[in-house]
């Protein structure tokens, strides 16, 4: 271990060999006694429960969303994420202020927050509620921040369970609590969601299989030191861990606070300027999201929105037209279009039926090539210069729909076609965007940290059993995502793969 730590030793905070070239905690006099006491298990009973957090308002876009935090650390966490505009936070008093991510200094949302000191609260613990804008983006970002500050995501019904266990609810409500607990396992997802979830869990399973590989090797090296087996070198370990880490990172990136917020089928809407792309988007969204004007090129940036069409979650990207332009700002928009084009699972190409196909249309058609696509021949109300059969000749694999978005025609048909494509498995969500909810994101983030720790330990050439702890934890965390936690499979794999024994 390269030891640059000596200077810091006296002032260090983090403990032990985890530290390495970071910091090392100096053992305090009481630690040993505490250790001995714990070893002898004269443990105390006043154990603290975790602080939990969750989005308390119903899913979907409401005007206001609430994030609830319950537990000893609720106030601490609020202080970490919330900057009140004036005054101090007082129990039972609403304060107005901002949620700021202290790691980046970025403002996330303006909110109202209230702190309710236990035991006079729903769970009898300290409770904090943050009221923010109702968009799921805002809620998700704030929740993610709260979780990163030390809260754990609440299980279904956990607030109510705590309220009950802490004597807040009367006995007659016990059944209701049980119903809440059970709701999770009894819930059935619809087919479309299942399909998408399936791809996600496949990915998690793949990473877990990699983790099992590492764990099996660690286990066999630790538990069978005498056997004639390949040694787990630090170099090999480093390589495997690095690989797993980058896979988790890739997944996490999809859940990042950027554009791609919620999961779904990635659909790009393309077309030359002013053929009705934004109108299409608005028609699907049911409200005016992108600015619609008659001036070509108004939609300069790509816009993403998540909607549900026939129960299928869809991430819509409205792109600027793909045409050569001198305008620098628009150029950026066009580059982005090409990019999102390449990332999408399905392309909706909007063309003007009332005009002949132009160079730009052909340019787009060239881009579409063999990709899954739907062609919307819009502006049927204005004329029919370009026909379905014409399109089918050029793009034989595309579904063609005649529409007049101004008159609201063609939208239902579009929904039917998308549904058909998904259910028939003709379009599948690519494996580039997968992380669908905060719980998954949270678990993945923790797993990512574990891999980081494991890699640090590996770089410092620390004993294998310490590295094993982090790898194992990561394996468990990822298991929680897909509801698999059994660890006996490691031992099974050890005997499956290695010839061991006297």
């Amino acid at each position: 271990m390269k030891d640059k730590t000596a200077v810091n030793l006296k002032f260090s905070l983090v403990s032990g060999i985890l530290a390495g070239n970071k910091v090392a905690k100096v053992p305090q006099n009481g630690d040993f006694l505490q250790f001995a006491a714990l070893c002898n298990l004269k443990g105390k009973n006043n154990m603290r429960e975790d602080t939990i957090a969750a989005i308390a308002t119903a899913a979907g876009e409401g005007g206001i969303g609430i994030i609830r935090i319950s537990g000893d650390e609720a106030l601490d966490i609020l202080n970490k994420v919330f900057v009140p505009v004036s005054g101090k936070i007082k129990s039972r008093m609403m304060s107005y202020g901002h949620i700021i991510d202290s790691r980046t200094g970025k403002l996330i949302d303006e909110v109202m927050a209230v702190y309710m000191k236990g035991p006079h609260s729903y769970t009898t613990e300290d409770i904090v509620e943050i009221q923010c804008h109702g968009s799921s983006v805002s809620l998700r970002k704030i929740l993610a921040l709260v979780l990163s500050c030390g809260a754990r995501l609440a299980e279904r019904g956990e607030f109510t369970k705590r309220a009950f266990l802490n004597g807040r609810l009367d006995l007659s409500q016990a059944e209701a609590v049980i119903d809440l607990i059970r709701a999770k396992t009894d819930k059935t997802f619809d087919v479309a969601l299942n399909q998408l979830e399936g791809i996600f869990s496949e990915k998690i399973k793949e990473i877990r299989a990699d983790l099992v590989d590492v764990l099996v090797n660690l286990t066999v090296n630790i538990d069978y030191p005498d056997e004639d087996i390949e040694e787990m070198t630090y170099e090999k370990l480093e390589k495997s861990l690095q690989n797993i880490k980058s896979k988790i990172k890739k997944l996490l990136d999809t859940a990042d606070t950027g554009r791609i917020i919620r999961d779904g089928l990635k659909v790009s809407i393309v077309g030359k300027p002013n053929v009705g792309k934004s109108s299409l988007m608005n028609a699907i969204m049911g409200e005016n999201r992108a600015i619609v004007t008659d001036i070509p090129g108004t939609t300069r940036d790509t816009i993403e929105e998540t909607v549900t069409v026939k129960n299928i979650p869809i991430v819509l990207t409205d792109t600027a037209g793909i045409h050569d332009t001198e305008d620098v700002i628009e150029q950026i928009g066009i580059e982005k279009s090409k990019e999102s084009f390449n990332n999408s699972d399905l392309i909706i190409f909007v063309a003007d039926a009332s005009a002949n196909l132009e160079d730009e249309d052909y340019e787009i058609i060239k881009y579409i090539g063999n990709r899954k696509s739907i062609v919307l021949l819009n502006k049927q109300d204005k004329g029919r210069k370009t026909t379905s059969s014409q399109i089918s000749e050029i793009l034989p694999q595309a579904a063609v729909i005649e529409s007049s978005l101004i008159e609201g025609k063609g939208i239902d048909e579009l929904g039917d076609v998308i549904e058909k494509l998904v259910y028939n498995g003709e379009v599948k969500q690519g494996d580039n965007i997968l992380v669908t909810n905060v719980r998954h994101q949270n678990l993945l983030e923790e797993g990512y940290k574990c891999m980081n720790d494991a890699l640090n330990m590996t770089e410092m050439r620390q004993p294998l059993e310490f590295i094993d702890i982090d790898v194992n934890r990561c394996y468990e965390l990822l298991g929680e995502i897909i509801g698999e936690t059994a660890s006996d499979d490691i031992i099974d794999k050890v005997f499956e793969r290695f010839c061991l024994g006297k």
Binding site: I17, N40, L464, E465
Partner: protein, 622 residues
């Protein structure tokens, strides 16, 4: 023909620990053995300890058991395994002088007050109103007892397989115990078949050691028992050699003659202890398999061929052994064999190792579906302790998964059950960093003392060690040096200099510096510490951070462990539990929510339902 507090059936590693524990805790005890020459017999490998197993031996010792002391008296070669890895998985293993191991254990049993031993075959247990009250022997003699401990090993309905030959037998040519198996079934006990095997023994004089690689013990040997500071030098070497394609050819050509593949064996064998034909079959692309040649004792020329157990016919055995470098002129004196025996499903036991259906009947060792001398001894010890506590009307001693490998072993067996002879592994423990072999006494000796098993002398040693370590711990933190004072010292040990004052504890945190090294800069206040004390200090200081992390995990783990579940809950009446969970819970009657959560088929949601149920019940009482 006699009235005892405790009767132990079997005198193997489980039986001996059980009997000694009962007698030492002041109960009038009788131990039966089919043959007194079989007391503490080692019918398989001539060694004690190893990964996980070494931890068990230290824990048995810390509680006041005999295995550690006995192997320290009789070891031939000692080796600390895994020293290239961290302290949590350092594991001691010693080659044993089998005969002396048996003799020393027998002597100890002979001179232990309250303890009788008897050669005889127990053929039945007496059960009255759901309670065991005694045993009956082959000679139709009836012995009364308040508690009975079954530790029948591989004797129960034992059957040996060598090629096409199958015959009823206990281990090592001893008689099997058939009647007892039949009668246990009559008492409603469900028995099943497990299998294990052992390699051939040969004469050392027929081997050519120049073709093998010598395996020496450690230069500095280390005792198993916390009662010993020194154990003396190694007396022998072991030898390493390998099979080759020729060996595998012979084996493959004779697959059809193996009892294993012939389908005669119904019992399930352990995966970690496969026979050589199994290895060759399952790992066909492996070019060679290693084997160790290990002495069986100082008074014999017999050698054990570790890694080569088999149920092939004798002529095939000789043929394949002879293909191995160094074994060309091998003379086999005992052929390899596979043995099948009756055992129970350990899920029929409570965590104190008492049978769920027959009160005061305790079970231990291979009879419970485990494998290995150390696993057996650990259960024997706990069965003995708990039998005494039970008949004395005291609370059971159940060690948690966070407290001991013994706890992991028993909880695994009882809660999860096992489909093969169960072997401990360090990876079975969740809190490996805390469950080290070096701190077994700190974890367990006061428990052993509290139940009246660990001796006064052991307890005093433990207290002294604890005090010495704590004192020295404090001193190491207090005593500090200016950078200039330790510059040379640090350079000499290949580690970077410091810029500000540094304590000895901080220096010891560095991987390059050991406690012994510190003597170079230390002063007169440095105490004289024992091996066990030094190890303790080093490990605790060097790995403090990770240990703290794990202790925090244990705190969390204990939340569910501490929530007790009554034995008379009818889970089928609890609303909200899934049917599968309710059935499992009714079958296994877990003693805590923690145990319930480890039962397969019980989900986290079920545990939450139980939490609500417990709260409801608590309020109902108020």
């Amino acid at each position: 023909m006699g009235e005892y507090d405790c009767i132990v059936v079997g005198a193997g590693h489980a039986g001996c620990e059980a009997a000694l524990a009962c007698a030492r805790m002041g109960k009038k005890t009788l131990m039966f053995s089919m043959n007194l020459e079989a007391i503490a017999m080692m019918p398989c490998n001539p060694s004690i300890g190893g990964t996980g197993k070494g931890h068990l031996v230290r824990e048995i010792d810390a509680l006041g058991g005999e295995m550690g002391i006995n192997i320290d008296k009789t070891f031939l070669q000692s080796k600390m395994l895994n020293t290239a890895k961290g302290p949590a998985v350092h594991s001691l293993r010693a080659q044993a002088d089998k005969n002396r191991y048996h003799i020393e254990m027998k002597k100890t049993i002979e001179k232990t007050p309250n303890l009788d031993m008897k050669q005889g075959e127990v053929t039945d247990i007496v059960v009255e109103e759901g309670k065991v009250t005694g045993v009956i022997t082959k000679t139709h003699t009836w012995y009364k007892a308040k508690a009975v401990i079954l530790a029948t090993g591989t004797f129960l309905a034992g059957k040996i397989f060598i090629g096409s030959s199958v015959f009823e037998s206990g281990p090592n040519g001893l008689a099997p115990s058939n009647e007892l198996a039949q009668n246990l079934k009559k008492h409603g006990m469900k028995l099943r078949r497990f299998k294990t095997g052992t390699p051939a023994r040969c004469l050392g004089s027929s081997l050519d050691y120049s073709k093998m690689i010598e395996q020496k013990g450690d230069e500095k040997t280390v005792p198993f028992s916390f009662m010993n500071d020194e154990v003396g030098d190694n007396k022998v070497s072991c030898w390493l050699t390998y099979t080759n394609e020729e060996t595998h050819k012979v084996i493959r050509a004779n697959f059809h003659r193996s009892a294993l593949f012939g389908g005669q064996i119904e019992g399930i064998g352990p995966r970690y202890c496969p026979s050589i034909e199994d290895k060759v079959n399952r790992f066909a692309d492996k070019e060679r398999h290693q084997l160790f040649v290990e002495p069986e004792g100082l008074d014999t020329d017999e050698m054990y061929i570790q890694g080569m157990s088999s149920s092939l016919p004798e002529d095939v055995q000789l043929a394949f052994y002879k293909t191995i470098p160094g074994l060309e002129n091998l003379r086999i004196v005992r052929p390899a064999y596979a043995i099948e025996y009756d055992c129970i499903n350990p899920q029929d036991l409570k965590l104190n190792l008492e049978n769920r259906h027959i009160e005061n009947l305790f079970c231990a060792g291979q009879f419970n579906g485990s494998s290995g001398y150390e696993e057996a001894a650990a259960q024997g010890l706990m069965a003995g302790i708990n039998a005494v506590l039970k008949i004395s009307g005291k609370k059971s001693l159940v060690l948690g998964r966070n407290e001991a490998y013994i706890g992991v072993l028993i909880d695994d067996l009882v809660t999860k059950g096992t489909n093969e002879p169960y072997r401990i592994m360090t990876s079975r423990a969740e809190y490996r960093l805390v469950l080290r072999q070096d701190n077994a006494d700190l974890r367990l000796t006061d428990k052993g003392y509290a139940v009246g098993l660990a001796s006064e002398e052991r307890y005093k040693r433990y207290l002294k060690k604890k005090e010495n370590v704590e004192k020295e711990f404090a001193r190491l933190q207090e005593k500090s040096f200016a950078p200039a004072e330790v510059k040379e010292f640090l350079e000499a040990h290949g580690t970077t200099p410091v810029q500000s004052r540094v304590s000895m504890a901080e220096l010891l945190k560095r991987p390059q510096i050991s406690y012994a090294d510190l003597a170079e800069i230390d002063d007169d206040s440095r105490p004289e510490l024992s091996y066990h004390e030094v190890t303790q200090l080093e490990v605790q200081i060097k790995y403090e951070g990770y240990i703290q992390k794990q202790l925090a995990q244990i705190e969390r783990f204990k939340r569910l462990e501490d929530k007790r579940l009554s034995q008379d809950i009818d889970y089928s009446l609890i609303e909200g539990l899934r049917i599968e969970a309710a059935q499992k819970l009714n079958q296994l009657k877990p003693e805590s929510l923690g145990q319930a959560s480890r039962i397969s088929g019980v989900s986290p949601a079920d545990i939450n339902v139980l939490l609500v149920y417990l709260e409801k019940k608590r309020r109902g009482k108020q």
